[in-house]
Symmetry: C2
Subunit: 229 residues, 2 copies
C-alpha cells in the first residue's frame, strides 16, 4: 500500500467511526504526518485526493477556518470526473443526454404533487428572469441549468439532484461551444421558454405524467437542435 493511501484509509476510517464530522478540521499537515509516521508530502497527496473528492476544503492562513475542513460536496468531484472523461472522448454525449432524460423525467414526476407553492414560485422566478430581452446567451443557459437543477431538487433525492447538477455543469462548455449550430436563436429560445413554463405548470397541477413527457421532449429537442445528442 502506498503511503498516501494509508493516510486516506485512516481518514476514511475516522469519518466512518464518527471521529471526524462535518465541519471538523483535520490535524495540520505536519501533525498528521507525525501521527501516522509518514512524511508531509505523502499527507499532502492524500489531502489532494480528498479535496478532489469533495470531502475537504483547504485554506491557508490562521484562525478557525484555516486548514483542511471536512465538507460534504459530492457534486464537484462528479462534475470534474465527467468533464475529464468527456475530454477523453470515451463518454458518449448521447449517453449523457439519455441519462438526463431518465433522471429528469423521474424527478419532475416525483416533484408533481409534492412541490410546495413557494418552491414552484421560486422556479417561476428563474423563468421570469429568462424572459428578459437581450439576455446574453451564456446567461440564458446558466439560468436554464439552474431551473433544471431546481426541478431535480424538488424530487427530494440528494443523489439524483447532485448527479443532475454535475451533468449540467460538465456539458455546459459543450453547449456554449455548440451555439454556432443554432444560428436562428430567437425562435429556439422562445420555444425553450414555453416548454419550461409548460413543465412547471404540469408540476404545479400535480400532473406527473405530463410533466415527465414534456421535460423529455424538451431535453431531447434541445440537443437535437444543438447537434449535440
Amino acid at each position: 500500500m502506498r503511503t498516501h493511501e494509508l493516510v486516506l484509509h485512516q481518514v476514511e476510517a475516522d469519518l466512518a467511526a464518527g471521529k471526524l464530522r462535518l465541519g471538523d478540521r483535520l490535524p495540520g499537515e505536519r501533525a498528521l504526518a507525525g501521527q501516522l509516521g509518514v512524511s508531509r508530502p505523502s499527507v499532502r497527496e492524500a489531502i489532494r485526493v480528498l479535496e478532489a473528492m469533495g470531502v475537504v476544503r483547504t485554506s491557508v492562513g490562521s484562525g478557525p477556518d484555516a486548514g483542511a475542513v471536512i465538507v460534504a460536496d459530492p457534486g464537484s468531484p462528479l462534475t470534474a470526473a465527467l468533464r475529464l472523461h468527456l475530454a477523453t472522448s470515451h463518454l458518449p454525449m448521447g449517453d449523457i443526454v439519455q441519462t438526463r432524460v431518465l433522471l429528469e423525467s423521474w424527478a419532475v414526476r416525483e416533484a408533481s404533487g409534492r412541490a410546495t407553492p413557494s418552491q414552484v414560485a421560486a422556479a417561476q422566478q428563474l423563468l421570469d428572469a429568462m424572459d428578459e430581452p437581450d439576455l446574453p446567451r451564456e446567461r440564458f443557459h446558466l439560468l436554464d441549468a439552474e431551473f433544471h437543477v431546481a426541478l431535480a431538487t424538488l424530487a427530494g433525492n440528494v443523489l439524483v439532484s447532485t448527479i443532475m447538477a454535475s451533468l449540467r455543469e460538465a456539458i455546459h462548455g459543450y453547449v456554449i461551444a455548440a451555439a454556432p449550430h443554432v444560428p436562428d436563436w430567437t425562435p429556439v429560445a422562445a420555444l425553450l421558454r414555453a416548454q419550461h413554463r409548460a413543465v412547471l405548470a404540469a408540476i404545479a397541477d400535480g400532473d406527473g405524467d405530463s410533466a415527465a413527457k414534456l421535460v423529455a421532449e424538451h431535453i431531447e429537442g434541445f440537443y437535437k437542435a444543438s447537434r449535440l445528442g
Copy 2:
C-alpha cells in the same frame, strides 16, 4: 491558481485537444515538472488527483507499461466518492436505494427486446453460479452485484451502467455489515434467486414493463429486509 492545478489544467487541455489519447503515457514526473516549470511534488499532487479521477494509472519500473498511462475508468472515482460521502453520513442510504430502483427499472426496460440471446445466457450463468449450495454469503452478494451490473450494461448506456456499478460497490460494505439483521438467510436467498430469474425471463421475453416492475420490487424488498433502506 495553485501549482498542481496548473498541471491538471494542462493535462486536461491536452486531453481535449487530442494531444493525449487513451493508452498514451504522460511524460515522466521529472520531465513534466521541467516542461511546466514546477517542482516534482506539484506534478505528483496533480497525478494523484488524475489517478483518483480514474484518468491515469501509474506503475513503477521500466518498459512500455511503466509510468502514468491514460485510462478511461469513470467508475472507480465515482465509487470512491460515494463511499467517502456515505461515510460522512450526509448521503442518505434511502436516496441511494431510490436511485438504484430508478436506474435499474429503466435499464431492464431498455434491455428488454434489445438483449441478445448470448447476453441473456451470460447473465443466466451468473444465476446458475448463485444456485450453488453452501455458497458463502459474501460470494453470493458479489455475484448478485455482478448480475445487476450485467443487467444495467444490457441497456447500452455507459454512464448508467457506470453509476450502477459504483452504487453497488459503494454500498457493498454496508450490505455485508447488515448481514446479522437477516438471521434466517436461507429463505431470503431463495426468494432473491427466484426474483432474479423472473427478471431475466421478462427481459428475454421482451416484456419491459414486467421486468421494470419486478426489479423494483426485488431491490426495495431486499433493502427493507436488510433494514438498510
